[in-house]
Symmetry: C2
Subunit: 136 residues, 2 copies
């Protein structure tokens, strides 16, 4: 078992992708008016791409157009003090092609909040890192 | 009930602080070598200050010294598609004063990972925002 300097188990890219696929919610990390910003979103993993559905005029849509973002998912159990986290860093892009939008709209990715959400953001998993914490 | 343009309920600062106090884990959002970075941490809420315990030489310790960070906590139920998230933005500072370190070391804030963690980071809650999602 490979551990980092903080004593956390280092997960392989394959393990990270497997864990990401089990998580209904992740957090997209970006910059909003020069300040760090974070927003939880539900998502779908299409291969190694993270697909997010939002509204066209949203702050998230504006802030993630052609930029590098981080995306994080985790699952921790406070009782046993165990759990994992996975972070992906990569370029985000707004999907503009109607054929690709039609394909993404058919994914099992339903908005949680009310209102139309026909704007898709795809994050390409360029850097993938993950850690697992075991009891200290 | 006040809602934002995305149809999410807007939480008051008081509600946000109450929810933060119920959460054992949050995510600190910062910049690491000009890239967005995010790391889950356990934390303690001391008044409205977020207290985090880490190792002296950690990336987190280096990256959050005298800078503005975001801190996010949330709780979602994928079955009912409901939940909340709270985000704090504020200045982070490393605690250097021995008396303050002694006070923080007495808090109910135990590291989850193995190893000594005697470096404390305090985030001052300058901007606080929160949202609750109800079924769409």
């Amino acid at each position: 078992m490979k551990c980092d300097s903080a004593g956390l188990q280092v997960l392989s890219r394959e393990e990270c992708m497997h864990l990401l696929a089990t998580s209904p919610i992740g957090r997209i990390v970006f910059t909003d008016r020069a300040l760090p910003a974070v927003q939880p979103v539900n998502f779908h993993l299409r291969g190694e791409d993270i697909v997010i559905r939002t509204t066209t005029g949203s702050k998230l849509a504006a802030a993630t157009r052609r930029t590098v973002v981080a995306f994080e998912a985790d699952d921790f159990d406070p009782d046993t003090r165990t759990g994992w986290s996975v972070t992906v860093v990569g370029h985000a892009r707004a999907v503009d092609d109607p054929a690709e939008i039609a394909g993404l709209a058919a994914l099992p990715l339903l908005p949680w909040a009310p209102g139309a959400r026909d704007h898709f953001i795809v994050i390409v998993a360029e850097q993938v890192s993950g850690r697992r914490v075991h009891p200290g």
